[in-house]
Symmetry: C2
Subunit: 353 residues, 2 copies
DNA sequence: ACAAATATGCTCAATATGAGTATATTTGTG
DNA sequence: CACAAATATACTCATATTGAGCATATTTGT
């Protein structure tokens, strides 16, 4: 039996979701971990006899004796690991569920981690860590609608989820699940809400469709001494279409982060922390589109940001390759004190290019 | 010298901000603590030789060995203490700054607390605790604009803050502070953004204008062995107009919560968790107004919620005292799956009755 | 000179919003 | 009972915002 942990203490860690947009791709910083060798003991647990994904979010322990605040601890550690200076930083969420790491059953200090989102401009990457940039949508292929509605949504996700929900025995639970499905993925005519990234991820997990769900089922079985659950090979095939699996609950954390950033875009001018100090309106639009996973109407986008006073022309023009050269703009900081709601709104549901 | 805390462990606590609206007053649950006797050892520290406010937010330790998730731990403990069943629950923020409790300087386990907001319908109050309801605006008199712009804003807050900011020596800091002031409190023509409760609180704290700031200055002086800082008696007078002081950083936590609820109102239908299952449109409007601290235009509010499909008529009417009886409505849950953004929008800046 | 590519400007209908006015249905009072 | 006071509900109207598209401008490359 594991050690009792009656003193209620816990280990606090920091998880950083560091976001940048380059080449119209939203990227996050991940760490490719050598298989079966987690960075910190706290992340390891005992039973290591199952395959886990080597892809993790950057994680660092928080040492209360060294840092006055969580945010300071984060800055320090990210700088050491990546050499990045962080721009906009926001606390995301505190994750402490026991099933975060299925190996950590009762007993043992609980790993509590506080997630932070940081938006950064550049991508130099230096420092002690082995961090690298990876396309967000590698983890959430169904979230990128810029080239139209992703095939995986209609061909795999919706039908399989609907089938799963229909077969839930208990009536109340079935109905509430079906309602959640229609909210998260839209039904027929209804719309796809780009913010609901976490809700979609959670449904896919509950339905056992993605890698983490299959992995966790195995682990739980191993821990309780049951025989390996038979996972239909079809399920394993399906999971391959549903993005890269991450370690522990890291993909859930990432889903939370993407949802948060998308929501924030609409009512606070956070995009500008991802851009250089001057930029063309196309640059700006492409970054918004990349994060939102949508195409926007160009002329209306321009109207929104220019007439809305979010940006102002610098008088200079971009040196470019084809077409009429675009004017360079800069962020108008004054807007912060003028308009309560000032974001570069993603559309409610419209997506036309 | 205090004990070193090199193992990075920390004590995790839960802070609950439990909100209900009754008689057009938004209320939160607080605990009146006997002076100088905090509920948990973790909250006490050593140096107790200064006056602190007896008003605290409900706080409970989180025991990882007993509860699978933070939220479950919260539910359990709130039920024991108050007998309340929680409706909507949302994680607010994780607070871990060292200066949360100025007594806890270097060393000693850090108290990290995870704040949760819960919206509840009823106010019976039973159970083991000595919790009671208190008007939110007792703590933030400047946030309630329902009877027009509060006098304290123009007579005390704005002039004193402006004076304070003007006297900041360092140029960059002065300018950025002045910008923050104008964002948070509006300047002249500019608007008051009802969401920015935390930003306003923080500026008042930094300017040393509210009770907590005065208290913390004393404590810091006592700890570093300096003589009691001389606080102008005028400052103490001022603080009296700026709401009830709370223990530790609890008022900061509360400010975060109120800002969050106000923001949420606009784009998610959370109000309905504060209302009985059927209600008149006036009931609904009064609750929104109470939380938002604004008056809304009645006819337009009706149009918004009825035409927007947020509510549907039940066919029954209210039994009432004066005037034409109002129809009873209920929340239309379907709206969740229909419209991505469905809240009962507070106005951007308009406030007319 | 002209096609291709891009930027920028403008129009127009559909909705949404702010601010009223008008009407309806109650209770309480003389 | 008539009528004032109080409240609910319906409608109007000007203005602002949004979605969608067409038209024009300024480049580069052939």
């Amino acid at each position: 039996m594991p050690i009792k942990n009656a003193d209620q203490s816990a280990v606090i860690g920091l998880n950083a979701i560091i976001v940048a947009v380059t080449d119209e791709v939203p990227r996050i910083l991940i760490v490719q971990r050598a298989a079966h060798s987690l960075a910190t003991p706290a992340q390891r647990g005992e039973a290591d006899s199952y395959e886990d994904s080597p892809v993790t979010l950057p994680f660092g322990p928080f040492d209360p004796s060294q840092h006055r605040t969580l945010e300071l601890g984060l800055h320090k550690w990210v700088e050491q690991q990546t050499g990045l200076g962080l721009g906009y930083v926001e606390q995301l969420y505190t994750f402490a569920d026991r099933h975060r790491d299925p190996r950590e059953q009762a007993g043992g200090p609980r790993l509590v981690s506080v997630g932070y989102i940081a938006l950064v401009r550049q991508v130099p990457l230096s420092g002690a860590g082995e961090a690298e940039w990876q396309n967000c949508y590698d983890f959430f292929p169904w979230e990128d609608w810029r080239e139209g509605r992703p095939k995986v949504v209609d061909e795999i996700i919706r039908p399989k989820l609907q089938l799963w929900a229909k077969n839930i025995d208990e009536k109340n639970e079935r109905e509430s699940t079906q309602e959640r499905l229609s909210i998260a993925f839209g039904t027929g005519t209804a719309s796809w809400d780009f913010d609901r990234v976490l809700e979609r991820y959670e449904l896919l997990y509950e339905a056992g469709m993605i890698g983490e769900a299959i992995r966790d089922a195995k682990i739980r079985a191993a821990i309780s001494g049951l025989s390996e659950p038979q996972v239909a090979s079809e399920a394993i095939e399906t999971a391959k279409f549903l993005g890269t699996t991450m370690a522990l609950d890291n993909r859930r954390v990432l889903a939370t982060a993407i949802g948060r950033v998308r929501g924030k875009l609409k009512y606070r001018p956070v995009v500008f922390d991802l851009l250089p100090s001057t930029f063309t309106l196309l640059n700006l639009q492409l970054v918004v589109e990349a994060l939102g996973g949508v195409r926007l109407h160009k002329q209306n986008f321009r109207r929104l940001v220019v007439n809305g006073g979010l940006v102002e022309p610098t008088g200079q023009r971009d040196i470019q390759s084809r077409g009429r050269p675009a004017e360079l703009f800069r962020f108008r900081r004054e807007v912060l004190s003028e308009r309560p709601v000032s974001g570069v709104g993603l559309p409610s549901l419209r997506t036309i290019g």
